[in-house]
């Protein structure tokens, strides 16, 4: 509050009302998603027909709950698999990139850094189609010349992993690089003076210092992979990840089971957000 500036009660009231409306706008969609996950009705909409847990645990046909819907469970499995590989790969590449940019001395470093940020300004759909057509052309070329069919270059899980990796690595790189920039090089020199090998100094001094950033980058990568839609849509094969499956359900009209999944996603992201916040506060220390 800036005390010296007098504002009329009315203007203060109107402003307060606006802020309240803003937060209602912000949270209303999430609240209704959560509430209607427990509605005992065939459709995720009013009227309220009573409380039920059927959309989580129900097994009756036509009223299949989340935990007994095989297609839904399969898509969650696919998403987890994709997210696992994307996280491992993008954190590893991000770590290498951070060291390269901070420690390496070579011409064109600024250009390389700019290139690394570039995927963030390419629309996800474009990233998806460009990788789709490049890999398809490559697969066709290999097939024509050598008569070998390279399955992983066709739409499917490996291509989805590569597509997501292509822009999530930009994010993991910036997170880890920011932390590495704060590292005091004399600590590593001290370790070397005390007789540590290069690898030993890296393992016992530098990597522990980077741990919060690596953890934070991994959480963000996991979440972004799990929630990605645009790039994934273009590269998906016969096995759909959760977001693609949910999109199909929402287009066709669905039972509140989609609310139940969404509520789980909300809780999952809240947990990850809390974990990332803890990793972040450790990073700033």
């Amino acid at each position: 509050m800036i005390p010296s500036i007098r504002r009329t009660t009315l203007s203060r009231f109107v402003y307060g009302l606006y802020i309240a409306a803003f937060f209602v706008y912000l949270f209303a969609p999430l609240v209704v998603v959560g509430v209607f996950a427990f509605n005992d009705s065939r459709f995720p909409s009013p009227p309220w027909q009573g409380f039920t847990l059927d959309w989580f645990v129900g097994t009756a046909p036509g009223k299949l709950g989340l935990f007994s819907d095989p297609a839904l469970l399969r898509s969650i499995g696919v998403s987890m698999k994709v997210a696992f590989f994307v996280t491992i790969l993008s954190v590893a590449a991000g770590l290498a990139n951070a060291f390269l940019l901070e420690r390496g001395r070579f011409p064109g470093k600024g250009l390389l850094y700019g290139m690394m940020l570039w995927p963030l300004v390419i629309p996800g759909v474009i990233l998806g189609i460009s990788i789709l057509l490049f890999s398809s052309n490559l697969a066709n070329f290999i097939d024509d010349r050598l008569g070998i069919e390279v399955a992983f270059l066709r739409p499917g899980i490996p291509l989805v992993v590569l597509g997501q990796f292509s822009f999530i690595t930009s994010i993991t790189t910036t997170i880890i690089l920011a932390r590495l920039k704060k590292f005091d090089l004399t600590l590593e020199e001290a370790a070397l003076n005390l007789g540590a090998t290069r690898a030993g100094a890296l393992r016992t001094v530098t990597l522990p210092f980077l741990k919060p950033a690596i953890l934070g980058a991994a959480i963000i990568a996991l979440l972004m992979s799990f929630e990605n839609f645009n790039t994934t849509l273009m590269l998906v094969g016969s096995q759909s990840p959760l977001t693609i499956h949910m999109y199909g359900m929402m287009r066709e009209g669905t039972t509140p089971v989609v609310n139940a999944v969404s509520l789980m996603l909300i809780l999952g992201s809240a947990l990850l957000a809390a974990a990332a916040a803890i990793a972040g506060s450790e990073r700033r220390r």
Binding site: I5, L100, V125, E227
Partner: protein
């Protein structure tokens, strides 16, 4: 020792080079080449601008393109208008714990998948949805109203999914504005509007620019929100690209569309950065 250093450098360079050439540069080069090739006979292609000519000849294509661009500008302006008072309130009128709580509350919804947020809007806006039911039960509407599948619904959803990217840079830039500057403005006889126009907005300009750039870019490339909230009438350009690639299997035309979208998107980002004299690094991090 030196050769060892060189080896380490190449080992560190390898992932970056593989990533950027195989997944970013070559796919885009391939896309440009494909966009420039015309099919003269089955399996026979020639280089030419035919795909781009096709885009301008078919009204549906460039209408969709223009519509997407106009809606993105509109969504960006609306997001700025809606986010600014909130950002000012958080940055200047709140203190301590309440302030950080309000700021975090602004971030929270965006940790959740865009699909979940869109599902929320569907439940709120559809004919049998929460708002329609509320209007009928309070007697404000005689019959159920369909609020979904129109342009306004698309805008509501687009603004909603963009708020975070506007609020955060605005709060960050307003935080550095000294309260004394605002007081001085009033002391010198300025009205609230004068202070806003002469002091607050100029100071927040870097935040306004970087927020707007990011919001415009994300809106232009959005897929889920327009297609789900707009239904069959959404006519969004990314959807057109998807149709050419996956439904029609016309990859040449789809690539041309992709390049047009990429050009507009990068052009706006570039112009925005030039105008506000910022670098990509600072905008991305904000």
């Amino acid at each position: 020792m030196r050769s060892q250093g060189r080896l380490a450098l190449w080992l560190l360079l390898a992932p970056a080079l593989l990533w950027l050439t195989l997944l970013v540069v070559l796919p885009h080069v391939d896309m440009v080449l494909l966009a420039l090739s015309e099919r003269v006979r089955p399996r026979v292609y020639e280089y030419g601008l035919g795909n781009f000519a096709e885009f301008f000849k078919e009204p549906l294509y460039w209408h969709t393109f223009a519509r997407t661009a106009v809606f993105s500008v509109l969504a960006t302006l609306l997001t700025l208008l809606i986010a600014f008072p909130t950002a000012y309130y958080i940055a200047k009128l709140m203190r301590g714990r309440a302030k950080s709580l309000a700021f975090i509350a602004c971030l929270l919804p965006f940790w959740v998948s865009e699909l979940v947020r869109t599902l929320g809007w569907i439940i709120l806006l559809r004919e049998t949805g929460v708002i329609s039911t509320f209007l009928v039960s309070t007697g404000l509407a005689a019959d159920r109203v369909e609020l979904l599948y129109n342009d306004a619904a698309i805008l509501v959803g687009l603004v909603y999914s963009s708020l975070l990217f506007m609020v955060v840079p605005l709060v960050t830039s307003l935080d550095t504005l000294d309260d004394a500057m605002i007081e001085a403005g009033y002391d010198l006889g300025g009205s609230g509007f004068d202070v806003l126009r002469e002091i607050v907005v100029p100071h927040a300009m870097p935040g306004i620019m970087s927020g707007s750039i990011v919001v415009f870019m994300l809106t232009l490339g959005n897929y889920v929100t327009p297609t789900l909230l707009g239904g069959k009438n959404s006519l969004w350009f990314t959807e057109q690209i998807y149709n050419q690639f996956i439904t029609r299997f016309n990859w040449e035309l789809g690539s041309a569309f992709g390049i047009l979208l990429l050009l507009v998107s990068s052009g706006i980002v570039w112009a925005g950065l030039k105008l506000s004299r910022q670098s990509l690094g600072t905008v991305v991090r904000a």
